[in-house]
Subunit: 331 residues, 2 copies
């Protein structure tokens, strides 16, 4: 690896549906004068080099870390992390732990990123369960939802920890002075919902932040608050339903029952959704609560999504987010 | 109450946001030659009569059952059922239990309808937990989802019972020979999701019906199967997210960031959604698993929604649905 004084972002060049052909140009495009970092590309050197060759990279702090193993689809993430030391995610996490790189970005297996981050980086002090946070575009600007699937179950104390991490992220990275926090639930009242929600409501009310109470699914896309907390099962289901709306509209525009005028009408709406409400703008989900910076890009990531995922990593480095997340749990 | 040999549908005339002014004309409009039932309208006689007077009801088997109590917003449904014998839901359920009416329809409090149905009618033999089922329009026709909120938690055995009830409803009422059943989950694999989902998957696989496995939120509105089973918290959250989509598009069409052409484009799409994907077409949620017929219309119900909720009740009477639901649990 080339030496540099700049922070270095490790990128799993083999990850995602398209591998190096999308990840390498996306990563290089993320480099700019105002985001002053080096890149370490993890994967098969020859494949990465073939993608770098046509790009203008003279003088840029880009290195390749050769890795020869892959995590297979359907392989247990925990087993892969243990048994495949030479796959990009494991190598990159080990280097992050050793201080050789400052963040890891992958569009590969979410499970392997979560398992690799937790096993190899460890948790931040005071954090019981790291959570996957994702930014969701709404009518009133983006909201941050967590957990969207690092764990399938949660305790009330973990929900409070999610709220703390979400608040710190929105304040530090997005610059919102006093972020508002809501709990996803099936009713507004404190006593509504399953035991997890009523107990979490009680704990959240006692915290020193702007807890606005429960938010419901029918107001979710209107943007009721800055941070929405929920357990990973509910968060993941909610995220998938929101993602499914664009698929629904696309399918709707092909319906025989519609007039041609109606079919034509749907296309510009899809265009607006793709432009203003696309995950590509955010690029990656954020694993918050591990002792490091771990960004999980969508498997279907485009070059733009990869570029934005790497910019996410840069912002977290630049704001020293892990220290601030740890400080929020220091009580 | 007037005597008639026809089945009689009890209607809470005071329920919903608009009370008798919407419920009474909606109920009368539901009567027709091919749906041969009588109506018993429960509520304040003078208010109901005032709505009946301008309508053509000569010779129609319509009676009024005077009730003078109301369930207040925010009142505990269980307490209301116990302490207010003269409110429409309680009177109607008691008459249903006594065999004087054959179904109850209300656009009033969902909680009171669930509590009233369970306490006053009781459960069907073999049914541990009644569930609220709702029909949701999708690209490939409607699907029936249950539970959407009768209970906030469920056991794997209850999920199987929901699947049995959903299958019977879709076969008997909608005429689908071999309905397909899916479980809402955050991944396709049998081992995905929380314990409830993995245990339910196992049990559902052993049943004698077309279990297609897990379905995910991003394919939900495409219509992956005829019946989707889930716990009441997840089902209610999912239903609210789906309902929120139209609100989102309506808000989107007002955005300053959009061009006028884009704003105009969204309106016909909303029109299609309102026409083809509106809850009014279905009219009511169905409480399945109680020893009777209990239809919960939306609080914001229009006359059309009330009319369709009453037609739902009629179809369940005509097909003797409770007996068939009980038979599906007789093993």
């Amino acid at each position: 690896m080339s030496r540099t004084d700049k922070p270095t972002i490790a990128v799993d060049a083999m990850g995602g549906d398209h591998g190096p052909s999308v990840v390498v140009p996306g990563a290089v495009a993320a480099m700019s004068a105002d985001a002053d970092f080096g890149l370490a590309l993890y994967g098969r050197t020859e494949e990465i080099q073939a993608e770098l060759d046509p790009l203008e990279t003279d003088g840029l702090p880009i290195s390749i870390v050769d890795c020869r193993q892959d995590i297979d689809m359907g392989e247990s993430p925990a087993a892969a992390i243990k048994n495949k030391p030479d796959c990009p995610i494991v190598r990159a996490m080990a280097d992050h732990k050793a201080g050789k790189v400052n963040a890891v970005v992958s569009a590969g297996s979410t499970g392997a990123m979560v398992a690799g981050s937790i096993f190899l980086l460890g948790r931040l002090p005071g954090v019981n369960r790291p959570a996957i946070a994702t930014q969701i575009p709404t009518i009133r600007g983006e909201l941050l939802m967590l957990d969207v699937g690092a764990n399938v179950q949660a305790t009330p104390e973990q929900i409070v920890s999610f709220a703390r991490m979400g608040e710190v992220f929105v304040r530090e990275i997005l610059g919102v002075q006093k972020p508002t926090i809501g709990q996803l639930n099936i009713g507004g009242e404190a006593k509504k919902g399953p035991d997890l929600c009523t107990a979490s409501y009680e704990l959240l009310s006692r915290e020193d932040f702007e807890f606005i109470g429960n938010v419901e699914g029918n107001e979710f896309m209107l943007g009721p608050c800055d941070v929405v907390v929920t357990d990973g099962f509910t968060g993941n289901n909610t995220l998938k339903l929101v993602e499914g709306f664009a698929r629904f509209l696309a399918a709707l525009s092909e319906r025989d029952e519609l007039s041609d005028a109606e079919k034509h009408a749907i296309r510009p709406v899809l265009g607006v959704l793709m432009r203003d409400f696309s995950y590509e703008v955010y690029g990656g989900a954020l694993l918050l609560g591990v002792a490091g910076i771990s960004i999980i890009a969508h498997g279907r990531s485009s070059e733009l999504a990869i570029q934005n995922a790497i910019r996410q990593a840069w912002m977290q480095i630049d704001h020293d987010l892990p220290s601030k997340l740890a400080a929020a749990h220091d009580s």
